[in-house]
Subunit: 376 residues, 2 copies
């Protein structure tokens, strides 16, 4: 019987857990045994008893890892802490392969097959396994809620006996999964919402959510869609035109949410100090890319930075601030992945070497780093 | 020329200001001069320069108060700080007459005519002067935003590739102005909203906002509407039935917002410790009445109290957390009041002794306390 181990996260500020009572139950229904480290779900509002009720055993780390075939994590565990597992065990987690490159070597040496869930290809059959998408979705929601919380005014227009309160103007920069959810949430709250992106295909999406699309037009290099639907870097001409557009638009905004990430590279700078200075005092910027270097000049993870009267915020780990929901979706992503490759006769998941998903997410195998993106 | 003085608030945690650039401009258009204490608007995002641009003089407190005919405040100033004003000057502010009863005597002795804006009668022509209503409106909004901020899950139902996130269940207790805005805001954010009140007339209002009305029925003493549309105290039978209804309903809620206040008395207890214990861990209660003794057992102003895994929050001064908007509306309330009584020939406002509003709000005159509610 294949044994699945669920570890308690050890990274600073991490509150999520890689399995929910729901997915534990489903793994057991597939024929696996599940062992959960005591307290693993506590910060995500899941007690040990809830895991036990679904049939998991709960214990200390050594017992959980002993003879484990599959180790689940939100972030990659310290390689030194990985002991006693079955030879060739899978490590299935968000492994931050570019940021934690040295760790990947250690995972190889330790003899685990490390599978980086953030390398999941953006193809239809892998959508339900995509942790970046599920976590970004809730991060986009959270960014707007926190901006609303710190903002000194209300978002919606209110008609009161004492007169009208104007709606807040919110501008979303970068319209991926997080940006789309930020648009939807800001609209829900009654803000007047505009958005921009480097991919012109998003214009329709922005407008379908009822927001105004702010686009540089007639400039070479505007089309920034790279491999797999991710953004790539733009031409210098485009960058200059974008900065100019932003400068004039941003000066009228109350709320700005930036969401621009380029995989494996520092986040692009979208807002300069001079642009911040053009904004009204009391405005709020939420930088969702702050942990990747930041879209906003001077933003700092987990700090409220005030520049020119503008409050700039952003979390080192946004999904960790909505741990109950993000954990539930993250856990489902892992379950959807493993169950899709479950071989009923073998009683365990099997990853065909020639599968597109295998090639994309497998970092290490048989003691070596094997992923193309890391070897390139 | 009548001189209006705008003081910088001195109460702990108070961030609002009693005049906005907009109302300063309007007072001057009526023929008044306006003098603003330096820094008075700073925490509400209004600079001295903005007041000056509208024609106000800005200076230190003694110069601002010197020969002032009307003194505007959000809260009542320290009577000792009131010096140099014109004899019989009006003090127009939220004076907390029951909570600060001793101060009212001091205002009388100091020779000001103290006008308590929270005693404004709930009549049609005074709606635009009603600070309780304008401030409660934004407080109701803020309560939901803060509950959403501290809650570990999202409010709206989300259909994602990794499955569905359920909508939060929010329950609003007390459907006055704050409660209605709380319902509207929680609905905007996508929560599944229910609400209750002691006044059965609110049932239709709750339902018109798309929320579910939770009412004790067929119990004597249910009709709790007192003078002026405010709630009064209920019969014991009603109280018992309400507690039972709440106990069963509340156990299923993720978010509870309590808003019940009875003027001049401690806030009624709506939620007991046992009822908190019946809620799911991770749930959030926002007690809007926390500064008046609290609707929720164990709630503390400006603290996150965790009981049975439930987070209980509430601000000592909720409107102060949305100072830009609340100040703008508060300022309009004061302007609407003064301008309604403006005597163009006299060049100043005149309060007829036989006016319903005069009788309601006037606390002191000619060195004496004259208000019926304080003398009763």
């Amino acid at each position: 019987m294949v044994k699945i181990a669920v570890l308690k996260e050890t990274a600073a500020g991490e509150t999520r857990v890689a399995a929910s009572p729901e997915t534990v139950k489903k793994f057991i229904a597939l024929g696996a045994s599940v062992s959960v480290e005591s307290g693993a779900g506590l910060l995500a509002s899941v007690s040990d008893a809830e895991y036990e009720a679904m049939g998991a055993s709960v214990g200390a780390s050594p017992a959980v890892l002993k003879d484990a075939d599959i180790i689940l994590g939100v972030q990659g565990p310290d390689p030194k802490a990985l002991k006693g597992f079955a030879p060739g065990a899978w490590l299935v987690a968000g492994l931050d392969p570019f940021g934690q490159r040295a760790r990947v070597d250690e995972y190889a040496k330790a003899g685990v097959e490390a599978l980086a869930m953030e390398f999941m290809p953006r193809i239809t059959r892998a959508q339900s396994m995509d942790i970046l998408s599920s976590q970004s979705n809730l991060a986009g929601y959270k960014a707007v809620i926190e901006a609303a919380s710190i903002y000194g005014r209300a978002f919606p227009m209110m008609m009161t006996a004492a007169g009208t309160v104007s709606a807040a103007k919110a501008f979303i920069m970068g319209v991926g999964v997080a940006g789309l959810q930020a648009i939807a949430t800001a609209r829900r709250l009654g803000a007047q919402v505009s958005a921009t992106d480097v991919r012109s295909a998003t214009k329709e999406q922005i407008e379908s959510l009822g927001a105004k699309a702010i686009f540089v037009e007639n400039v070479a290099g505007i089309e920034g869609e790279g491999a797999g639907g991710y953004a790539t870097e733009m031409s210098d001409e485009y960058k200059a035109a974008q900065a100019e557009l932003v400068s004039s638009h941003i000066a009228k905004q109350d709320i700005v949410i930036t969401t621009a990430l380029i995989p494996g590279r520092p986040a692009p700078r979208l807002i300069s100090d001079a642009q911040i200075a053009s904004m009204k005092p009391g405005s709020v910027i939420f930088d969702l890319a702050v942990a990747q270097g930041g879209n906003v000049e001077g933003s700092k993870p987990d700090e409220v930075v005030v520049k020119h009267g503008v409050k700039i915020i952003g979390y080192a780990n946004t999904p960790a601030h909505l741990a109950a929901d993000t954990s539930a979706l993250f856990s489902r992503n892992l379950f959807n992945f493993l169950s899709a490759f479950w071989d009923k006769e073998a009683g365990e998941p099997v990853l065909p070497d020639d599968d597109e998903i295998t090639a994309a997410i497998r970092l290490t195998k048989d003691g070596k780093v094997v992923n193309e993106r890391l070897l390139a």
